[in-house]
Amino acid sequence: MADEKQTEVSAAVDPERLVRLYREMVLVREFEEASQRSFRQGKIGGYLHVYTGQEAVAAGFLSQKKEEDKVITAYRDHAHALMLGADPKEAMAELFGKRTGMVKGKGGSMHLFDVDRGLMGGYGIVGGHVPLGVGIAYALRYRGSDGICQLYLGDGAVQTGAFHEAANLAGLWGRDGMCPVVFIVENNQYAMGTSVERSTANPDFAGKFEAYGIESEKVDGMSLEAVLEAGGRVFEEVRESGKAYAIEAITYRIAPHGAADFFEKYRTKEEVREWRQKDPIGLLEQRLLDLDAVDEEKLQEIKDEAKRTIEEAVRFADESEEPPPEELYTDVYAGEDEYLGKE
């Protein structure tokens, strides 16, 4: 038995890689917990959506992003920024609306951007970024790059008109090899208080893409290894073909929808408890122990380190300056600004 397991693992998985990604997932979890605390302390304004429960999805896919690839997502974007390499200090400062933030404190939690690392945002309008992602994929091919676009969207976003218009175009352009986009539907079972059973008469999200001529598959979004496998295979196929593809990652939003959500009203304690058993971080810990890749002590060390990093990030954010009022007029348009900034 034990032997069998070993061989199965060595073929597909590099334990060191899993440990590295575990580190990232734990860091994101810490970041989210700290940001929720800071929100309650009134240090973060606007709104806040945390990624708790979904970490394996972003970790598995983003770790396979190539230099030339692009990433775009909605407002649940902290994990994406951090996993692409943003400094937790700058990310936290952005949530705090500080000058030292990733986008100078002007975007906040929902609008993290990191163009140098290929993160094309952070968007607050549900579904609104989907056409942008498809356009980015087209632009990549049009300009002769062999990059692809990882386009993250929620189950709720799939019900919006913007999604439909974009999926149709992705199907059409993909036929000509001009749309290397991977739709990553993070099906976390809810759109705010609306469960997938109530938001569509057919909750087979992967299946919906068939009618756009887009191939698709489902992946267990709680299993880092499953996500890694799917990403590794699909991204290279799409890079090669230039055809759109869709992956439905089945996952769960363990946290509330946002900073002001009373989820007892629309989901039962039992349901949440059941999904907690599949917490991707918990599952991965068990896996790493089974593989002898780590021991309990090592796991604790990783968590402590993440905690320290995030504490430092919060301190940095807290102590940073607010952007000065004049900054309201800068960065509104790209390049030199003819109209604004003269006041």
Partner: protein, 335 residues
């Protein structure tokens, strides 16, 4: 032998000879009014024409299932066949074309093809493509909430399915099992854009993603359309929810009187489709079934010609709306 086969076709659908002749008249009237509108346009009397030509079977076949004034219809600009089946007349069409005060759709305010009739439950069209769909599911929701067995027929071209509104409406209809039928008249073009550059995958397949059936039908065969629409209407009335019908047809004219279709499609293609003209096909069926002979065919043509002539003359002599009334009908008025 052949006659018996064809007879069985309409009889199996519960249609008698009177039904068939009524359907034929509706189709022919829609066609002849349309042809007259083009003439008036070329004479400089009508500013704009948008045609139903080629789509009469899809329209009349579906609309023949409607209960006028009870069910609701959200037609699109080509649906002359639908509004005529419901009871609109040649005169109504021409008054609208020439923007006269008596135009029942809008008192001469809307473009031609923007049908509207409170009595017939024809809901006023808006010019942006696709906006009728969310409105139509709203009406269907109202039927459901009131516990009435009304059905809503919502129509559009194949390109209207590329609009987000269509998706949101389809999804909502599916979730709430609403009594609505989406009739997509796939006439192969959206102005100059052909279907293969417009639709990824197949329209009819999209229904599955919303959890209800999609049916494809030969849109130039009026009885075939009647049959699938009948099933869809029955389903809706039984409370079993929506149906998507994709009627495969062809736009026989240019997109509108402002379009020159020679710039984007071959004459041979148009000629091929002219051979499949739905009126020609139905006429052949009626002859085969012994419902129509040459004399009867001529008689109907004559009647319709007289009706269109009378309507043209009436409309040309009808007054325009009083400029003083320009601000009326923007908001509802007390009755």
């Amino acid at each position: 032998m052949a006659i018996r086969e064809t007879q069985r076709r309409h009889e199996a659908l519960g249609l008698d000879e009177d039904d068939l002749l009524r359907m034929y008249r509706h189709m022919l009237l829609a066609r002849r009014v349309d042809e007259r509108m083009w003439i008036l346009n070329r004479q400089g009397k009508a500013a704009f024409v948008i045609s139903c030509q080629g789509q009469e079977a899809a329209q009349v076949g579906a609309a023949y299932n409607l209960r006028p004034g009870y069910d609701y219809v959200y037609p699109y600009y080509r649906d002359a066949g639908i509004v005529i089946t419901l009871g609109m007349t040649a005169r109504d069409q021409l008054l609208s074309l020439l923007a006269r005060a008596e135009d029942p759709n809008s008192g001469g305010r809307q473009m031609p093809g923007h049908f509207s009739s409170r009595e017939l439950n024809i809901v006023t069209a808006s010019a942006p493509i696709g906006v009728q769909y969310p409105q139509a599911v709203g009406s269907a929701m109202a039927f459901k909430m009131r516990g009435e067995d009304g059905v809503v027929l919502a129509c559009g071209g194949e390109a209207s399915t590329s609009e987000g509104d269509w998706h949101e409406a389809m999804n909502f209809a599916g979730i709430h099992d609403l009594p609505v039928i989406f009739l997509i008249q796939n006439n192969v073009y959206a102005i100059s854009v052909p279907e293969n550059l417009q639709v990824a995958g197949r329209i009819v397949d999209r229904a599955a993603g919303y959890g209800f059936p999609g049916v494809e039908v030969d849109g130039n065969d009026v009885l075939a359309v009647y049959k699938v629409a009948k099933e869809a209407f029955e389903r809706a009335r039984r409370g079993e929810g929506p149906t998507l019908i994709e009627a495969k047809t062809y736009r026989m004219t240019a997109h509108s009187s402002d379009d020159d279709d020679r710039r984007y499609r071959e004459r041979e293609e148009v000629e091929e489709w002219r051979k499949k003209d739905p009126i020609l096909r139905f006429k052949q069926y009626l002859h085969g079934a012994g419902v129509l002979d040459d004399a009867k065919e001529r008689e109907i043509e004559e009647e319709i010609r007289a009706e269109v002539d009378e309507a043209t003359e009436y409309a040309e002599n009808a007054p325009y709306a009083d400029p003083e009334s320009a601000m009326r009908y923007v908001y509802a008025e007390e009755e």
